[in-house]
Symmetry: C2
Subunit: 582 residues, 2 copies
């Protein structure tokens, strides 16, 4: 037996016991007369001790030969520590070493196995198995484990059935971002890896499974941005005989359950629901962080006609108001101006107005607006003495985008986005269709099976862009955590939808054939949702990066630097598959 | 709201309530004055009723228009049934229809949605979403769900951490049966889909995760035999600081827990352990069904020297004894002879000996053996009056194989393999190496990281074929359910192993490089196991086929006949991937 206890287990009550422990040498401190070793495993750290003069010389020699990250097994007696360590649960005791076996040696690791390691990102990825030994990464993976268990517990308790859908599926003509898999048994033919199990979960509803879920890997072969992975994990769910509110109710319940069981946070209030249009007007984007206000006010009508050409020529002028920001220095304001002028933000300039504590107002456009004008704007924006008003102008879409970015930057700078506060929000009433300039036709904003609002169906004939969808996103702290929709299950409506998306009947058949076929045999009303599990875990873990919550992530080029994959394969293998490299 | 209750929920206590139900029309019976509909959902069947003369004519028209597999929503009052149906939980009540909406219509399904359907295999697969509506398939998937939840509960309670390992991994030179995935972002390079997460789970042990599990899809691009799938699911586990007994203890516990929670079966006894050599000698194969005896007796030494050339020239002669089989007719014995002569069984003939109730013995080799001789054999085989002795001769390996097949056939015929009896068994002490005639070298029987018995290590120099491995299989009812091993974690031993397998250092590096590299930094002693989850579910479900326990299985050619995949992909897609079809 390699151990009687783990390294996180022994307490005062165990004093006097003879124990066997195994683990990694975290640290050895040699203070002349005394040698201490911190022995580490997944469960904690236990201090080992040996007194040079009172220990057998062979054992001392063994202890002296031990180095960091060696795996050792020791036997000894649990004794009370002279100087206790109240930072670790085993801090009251130590083990007096009586026997020591080196189970395996270690070369010096390429970076130190401590919380704030000296290893850079690439090195840590290359030696991921060492990186995982560090507390922050291990704890991220343990959190992910806990969340997966609790998700399943909640869904199981609510009658959801976990069904494994296939990974080798049909490649569809428009699946441009599909990973494909050549089939040796069917030369010249390919499977695709699923971008999501969307069609299968809808088939399961046709199949009468009523409530389905799966924590499942999905794949997308796209140019990676920071924090995107070619394989990622979804909590994928679908329900039958439901309307939008039924879906929101169940999954709001799931998120609350997770906060409670995993984070110990009780959220009693119903999550607020915000229409997409309101999110865009007030926050400038469809995933607002509502931990703080600083909402956008449209002052287009209020500021025109004073001969300030920038405003007079703008489609849209909007402002936000930073509470207690009137003392922002000129330098700080210049930095903000530089920020909004960055290409990815895209504004032309920034107008500010200080609403000073003494009630005076001072702006960068004093030439055009007197103090009364400024007070009008201030009132319109519900600004108070001591606030800073920031105004951007331009075409509506990009100005709202820039205001949103500015709002988030100010919030980050002023501590309005604390990682331990969580503000969930349902964004609803998304547009069903989006006009695509390039193809000069409408695209489905969500996917072509998303149901329109019943009362908006007549708009297909008059103003398709105005049709609202029974689609919903869950946003927490400005991060899109999940999204879904009620699906179309009516043949005629589905055909109208395909027509509006510019699909011929044949194209629709080609791309969605087996699902359309299934819909001939009594599809129930149904809807669902999918959560980005990597993202949800990183949110719960208080991190901005999903990588630490993935055991073996790939880098931004889609490479696994540890195993050096992807890689070339042999000519024989290519021959067997009936393919050639061009 | 589509429903107030499911179709499995209403009882006598609900009589008088107004309810709304939704579901599929299972059956409509029109008895002139009365119309009944069986309404079905995942949870059960509820009977609906309408009396022609007392129902509004528009409603009657709607009811008349409804057909099998239509999805309808009805509102009505729960009333007591005149003739109760004690076969279903809702059998005391029915709903008097007051309103009916057709939610969606159905064409006539290609086969009937009943337990014993008229649909053939191929048709059921093509319309799998209809097949799943049938009780047996739905129940198989619900059983699988239940088992997955209980597996995770047990492992979570035992400190196992669920870690998702990657699906896009490195293709290795010997991964001939790997599915590969071309990378668009890295043209000419490929990922592979994992045949198992073996190397990753060992890396997680190096990473200090201590106990890992995952219910995970694995992929193998091989010629499919009946009941093999190109993608299949494993319960994959690994533990650190363990010896073989620790692993067996934990996973025996898991299987007992599953039997108890899923099947209500308590197994208190420790699972028996049987060395591989004993399994081969007594049962003729390494996954014996021990629900019954009928073990093989080696009578090679007892039967030679009586001038019967078949026996005298045979390397091995073995027999089994069928209890109470002495009355097998000549015709039955001829059939058994035909059976053992089939090419896949491979025997040349069958010798029988009836040990009659009256104590006389009568054999097919009476010319060579008198009654005393026969009595000797009978005693050697612990045969009794009324038994039938069956003997095969030939080279040892194939004769044992044939005896094993004969034993199973007799057991099937005589009801010795009841589906509701479960006999788990650990098979242990597998040989570490297997001689391969073709390549004229040893291959690893399990895999190259499997640890040999400590006391057998010296045999590497003298008789490598005799080395026993710390490897184990869990066998239930003659089916291999799981298998695993204690791994080598010592560099020198690993090198000895590679040498014996004929790997050069470079080849080993190429194939197992990143794992070997990880082993430089303090690998802990570790071992693990993997269970075939599809197989385990079908065993629990009392089925010989795994297909019904997979939601969307592929056929024996690796095709999904529902979606018609794999399929051709477009030239543009091939171009983007930088590959060509040959």
């Amino acid at each position: 037996m390699y151990r009687t206890h783990t390294c996180g287990e022994l307490r005062k009550e165990n004093i006097g016991e003879k124990v066997t422990l195994s683990g990694w040498v975290q640290l050895k401190r040699d203070k002349g007369g005394m040698i201490w070793i911190d022995l580490r495993d997944r469960y904690g750290i236990t201090q080992l001790a040996a007194e040079r003069t009172q220990t057998d010389s062979k054992l001392i020699e063994k202890i002296d030969n031990v180095n960091r990250e060696y795996v050792i097994q020791i036997r000894g007696e649990v004794i009370e520590r002279y100087s206790k360590n109240d930072k670790i649960p085993t801090g009251d005791i130590e083990i007096k070493i009586e026997e020591l076996n080196v189970l395996s040696e270690s070369e010096t690791p390429p970076f130190t196995i401590i919380d704030n390691t000296d290893g850079g990102d690439e090195l840590r990825m290359k030696y991921r198995y060492l990186d995982i030994r560090r507390n922050p990464v291990r704890e991220a993976l343990l959190l992910r484990h806990r969340m997966a268990q609790e998700v399943r517990k909640y869904l199981d308790n609510n009658n959801f059935v976990e069904v494994e859908t296939p990974y080798l599926i049909k490649s569809t003509p428009e699946g441009a971002r599909d990973f494909v898999v050549p089939s040796r048994m069917n030369p010249g033919e390919f499977y695709a890896l699923p971008q999501s199990p969307q069609q299968y979960k809808q088939l399961l509803m046709v199949a009468g499974m009523d409530r389905y879920f799966q924590i499942v890997k999905c794949f997308r072969d796209e140019d990676l941005r920071a924090d995107r992975q070619p394989e990622f994990t979804q909590i994928d769910c679908e329900m039958s005989f439901v309307e939008q509110n039924d879906v929101l109710y169940i999954f709001e319940g799931m998120v609350k359950y997770l906060f409670k069981t995993v984070k110990g946070i009780e959220i009693n209030d119903k999550f607020p629901c915000m229409p997409y249009s309101e999110a865009m007007e007030k926050y400038g984007n469809d995933k607002p962080d509502i931990r703080f206000g600083m909402t956008i006010t449209d002052i287009t009508k209020n500021v025109k006609g004073k001969n300030f050409p920038v405003f007079d020529s703008a489609e849209y002028i909007g402002g936000i108001c930073l509470k207690n920001g009137s003392e922002y220095t000129r330098k700080q304001l210049d930095a903000l101006t530089d920020f909004v002028k960055m290409p990815q933000i895209g504004a032309k300039g920034l107008v500010y107005c200080r609403y000073n504590i003494d009630g005076t107002l001072k702006s960068s456009v004093d030439k055009f607006y007197n103090e009364n004008d400024l007070l009008d704007f201030a009132n319109k924006m519900q600004s108070e003495k001591g606030d800073l008003i920031l105004i951007l102008a331009g075409d509506k879409e990009s100005t709202l985008h820039a205001l949103s970015e500015l709002r988030l930057k100010l919030a980050n700078e002023t501590g309005l986005r604390p990682k331990d506060t969580f503000a969930p929000l349902w964004v609803v009433e998304f547009p069903l269709l989006e006009w695509n300039e390039e193809s000069q036709r409408f695209h489905a904003k969500h996917h072509p099976f998303t149901s329109p609002f019943d009362e908006d169906i007549t708009l297909f004939k008059t103003d398709p862009g105005k049709i609202r969808a029974k689609a919903y996103d869950l946003v927490i702290n400005g991060v899109e955590i999940g999204g879904g929709s009620i699906r179309i299950f009516n043949k005629e409506l589905q055909e109208t939808m395909f027509q509006n998306l510019g699909f011929t009947r044949e194209e629709a058949e080609n791309q969605f054939g087996f699902l359309m076929n299934a819909f001939k045999y009594g599809p129930p009303p149904h809807g669902g949702i999918a959560f980005g599990f990597d993202r949800l875990c990183s949110l719960f873990g208080g991190s901005d990066s999903i990588r630490d919550f993935i055991a073996f992530p790939k880098n931004n080029a889609g490479r696994d630097v540890m195993s050096n994959s992807p890689s070339e394969i042999s000519k024989e293998q290519l021959d067997e598959l009936g393919i050639k490299i061009k």
